[in-house]
Symmetry: C2
Subunit: 344 residues, 2 copies
DNA sequence: GCAGTCTCTGTAAGCGCTTACATCGCGCGC
DNA sequence: GCGCGCGATGTAAGCGCTTACAGAGACTGC
C-alpha cells in the first residue's frame, strides 16, 4: 500500500542504498541527489517500514510497559511518568495490562521480543523463575513494585515500610493507642510492606498490637467500606484507622459517615498514596505521598541507562522516599479544604 | 541473544519450516516431531521475533494511540477503554503523546508505518491535509474528538453540543437568567461545540446572551480560578456559571470560596465531563457525564472493524450521547455527598 | 501394480530495510 | 602522466521469519 524504498529508488533513478542514506542522513550524498530523492519520497508519501528497520538495526525505538491493570489514577500516573521520560529520549511505549491473569502476563512477556528494546514490568506477585522463563534473554528490564530477590533484575520500589511507619508514629503522636489497619491485597508486596511498617511502628513505640485490629482488604473502595463496617462492629473500637491505600480510606469514610461517626472527632482516618481525590474528601484525607509519576520516571531512567550503557550498567534495587501529608482527617482545627496546588 | 528459529531447527534436526509450523500451529506435523520441537524451543528459551514476523505477515498485533497528552483522568480513561477492547481482541497498544507539538504529532504518524495495524488519533486541532500527508497510505485510522470534515476518516465525537444545551436548559429551568460560560481552549473542537450548545440553548429558550458573560479559559483548573475572579468582578454578576469542563469548574469553585460566595446559594455552578472528583467537591458538582472509557472503547471497536472487514468497512462519523448529572452545586437541598458508585 | 491421494517435511523466495564492501570517476601532487 | 585518496554511488548479503511449492513415503482403490 505504502511506497517502499525500492519504488523511491526506482523513481529517483538511484539505488536503494542511496535512498536509505538520505533517509537516515548518513554517508555522503551529493546535495542534488539528496534533494531529488527527498522530493520523490514526499511525492510517493514514502515512510520507512518500522518492522523492516528494526529487524536489521536491532532497535525498535519502543519500550514495553506491562501493568496489572489500567484503571485509576495510580497506573495513569505511572504511565505518565514513564511516557514523559521515554518521549524525551525519543522512545515510544507499548503498554499492556494483564488484568491480573498470570497466563496473559507470561504471553505478553514472550511477545515482547523484537517489539521493544526494554521492559518495565509491574506485577506485584510475579516470581523470579516465571520471569526468567518467559523473558527474552538479553532484554533489559526494570521491575516496579515487585518483590523479587537477588540482583538478577533492576527494581524500583516505594518506601512503603517507611511511609507506613511514619504515619503510625504520627497517629501515636496525636495520642492514639488503638489504631486499626485495613490491609491491602494479600501477597501484594506494597500491602505487606505497609503492614510491616504499621506493626514495627507499634512495636518500637511501645503500643500494643491486636489481631482484631488488622482488617483484610484488597485496595478497592468497596473493601474499605466493608472494613469500615467491620471496625465499627468491634467490641472495643479503635480511635484511629489507617487504610493501606486512599481508595480504601475513602470507602471506609463512607461507612463511618453512614454510621454517623464523625471524622476526625470520633475517629481519625488515614490513607496511603495521596491520590488527588484525597484533597477533596470531607474532611480532606491525611495520607502518605508517593510521587507516582516519579516512580515511573525513575524506572524509565534506569531502563534507558541499561539500554544505553549496556555492559557498564549495574543492576540494583532502588527505594523511593515517601512523605507524610497531614490533612483534616486525623485531627481537628483545619480548614475543610485547602487550596489545591495547581498540577504542574 | 535470544535463540532464533534456525537454532531450534538445527537442534531438533528439522527444517525451519517445520519449527515455524509448530510455533504457529498450522500445517500437519507428526506429534512426535511436534513434541521434540516444543521441548527444544523451551530449553533454548526460544520466542519468535516480533519484527521479523510482522515484516512477512504484514500484521503487528498492535494499534497506535496518539494523544495530545497523558495527564489527568480524561486520557487515562480513554486509554483504559481502548485497552480493554484491544486486549480482548489480542492486540497491544503503542501509545504516545505529542504534548501539543505539531511536529511531534507528524513524526509520530510517520513512524507508525510497520509498527501498528491501525491508529486512534486524538488531536483536536489537526487538519485533514496534515493528516493525509503524514499518514501511511492504507493504515486504518479512527479520529477521536477531532473536527475533520468529509468522510475520508472514521471519527467518534462526544455530543458536546447536546450536553451543553441540556445543562443550560437545566439552569434556565432552575430560574437562572444570567448564566456565564467559561470557555474551553480556543480552536478546540470540544470547546467550540460546548460553547455553541450554550448559545443555542440561550437563544432557543429566549434568554438573552451577553458577550461579557463568555469568559476565556483553556480547560485547566488555573484558568477556571482566574475566570471565577473575573466573573466576580463583573458589574452585574450572573447567578450561574457553566464551565466548559470540570477542572475549570473546580478552579472556579475555589475562586468563589475565597471570595466568600456560597455555592449554590449565591451562585450556581456546573461543569462538563463528570470526572470522578466531581462527586467529591463541596458541594458536589453538577456536570455532564461523558462515558470517556466508552468513547475509547467505541473507537477501538470501529478500528477493529476496519481492520477485520477491510474492504467492507464503511467510514462514518459517530456521536456519543451525554447525560446530565445533577448534584448539589446548582440548587440546595441535597446531601453534601452522595455515596459514590463503586467503580466496576 | 500403479495412478491418485494424503500426510509429513524440506527448499527457497522474499518481506523492506541497512550496511560492509566494491566500484568508479575525478582532482591532486609530484 | 600516473598513482592516490576521496567523495559519490551501486551491489549484495542478510536480519528472522512465513509460506508456496515440491518432494517423499505410505496408503487406498481398482
Amino acid at each position: 500500500m505504502s511506497a517502499t524504498i525500492k519504488q523511491v529508488a526506482l523513481e529517483a533513478g538511484v539505488s536503494l542504498a542511496t535512498v536509505s542514506r538520505v533517509m537516515n542522513g548518513k554517508g555522503p550524498v551529493r546535495e542534488q541527489t539528496r534533494q531529488r530523492i527527498l522530493e520523490v519520497a514526499a511525492r510517493l508519501r514514502y515512510m520507512p517500514h518500522g518492522a523492516a528497520r528494526s529487524l536489521i538495526t536491532r532497535r525498535t525505538g519502543a519500550f514495553g510497559v506491562l501493568l496489572p491493570d489500567m484503571y485509576g489514577e495510580f497506573f495513569s500516573e505511572v504511565i505518565r511518568g514513564i511516557d514523559l521520560t521515554a518521549r524525551s529520549s525519543g522512545y515510544h511505549l507499548l503498554v499492556s495490562s494483564s488484568h491480573g491473569r498470570k497466563g496473559e502476563m507470561e504471553a505478553m512477556l514472550r511477545t515482547m521480543r523484537g517489539r521493544v528494546d526494554g521492559l518495565i514490568l509491574m506485577s506485584p506477585d510475579i516470581e523470579a523463575h516465571t520471569l526468567e522463563a518467559n523473558l527474552s534473554p538479553g532484554l533489559p528490564i526494570v521491575l516496579l513494585n515487585c518483590l523479587v530477590d537477588g540482583t538478577s533484575f533492576d527494581s524500583i520500589n516505594i518506601d512503603n515500610h517507611g511511609g507506613a511507619f511514619a504515619m503510625v508514629r504520627h497517629l501515636i503522636g496525636l495520642g492514639h493507642r488503638r489504631i486499626a489497619m485495613i490491609r491491602g491485597a494479600a501477597n501484594n508486596h506494597d500491602a505487606l510492606e505497609r503492614l510491616r511498617g504499621y506493626r514495627d511502628a507499634l512495636r518500637e513505640l511501645g503500643v500494643e498490637r491486636a489481631d482484631e485490629l488488622e482488617i483484610d482488604g484488597d485496595f478497592t473502595e468497596e473493601a474499605g467500606y466493608r472494613a469500615g463496617k467491620q471496625i465499627l462492629d468491634l467490641p472495643r473500637r479503635p480511635s484511629a484507622i489507617f487504610a493501606a491505600n486512599d481508595s480504601m480510606a475513602i470507602g471506609c469514610l463512607f461507612a463511618l459517615r453512614e454510621a454517623g461517626v464523625r471524622v476526625p472527632h470520633d475517629m481519625a482516618l488515614a490513607g496511603f498514596d495521596d491520590i488527588p481525590i484525597a484533597r477533596f474528601t470531607l474532611p480532606p484525607l491525611t495520607s502518605v505521598r508517593v510521587s507516582i509519576a516519579a516512580l515511573g520516571a525513575r524506572a524509565m531512567e534506569r531502563l534507558l541507562h541499561a539500554v544505553t550503557m549496556k555492559n557498564q550498567h549495574q543492576r540494583r534495587h532502588e527505594t523511593l522516599p515517601t512523605a507524610l501529608v497531614v490533612r483534616g482527617s486525623c485531627h481537628e482545627g483545619e480548614l475543610p479544604h485547602a487550596r489545591p496546588q495547581i498540577a504542574s
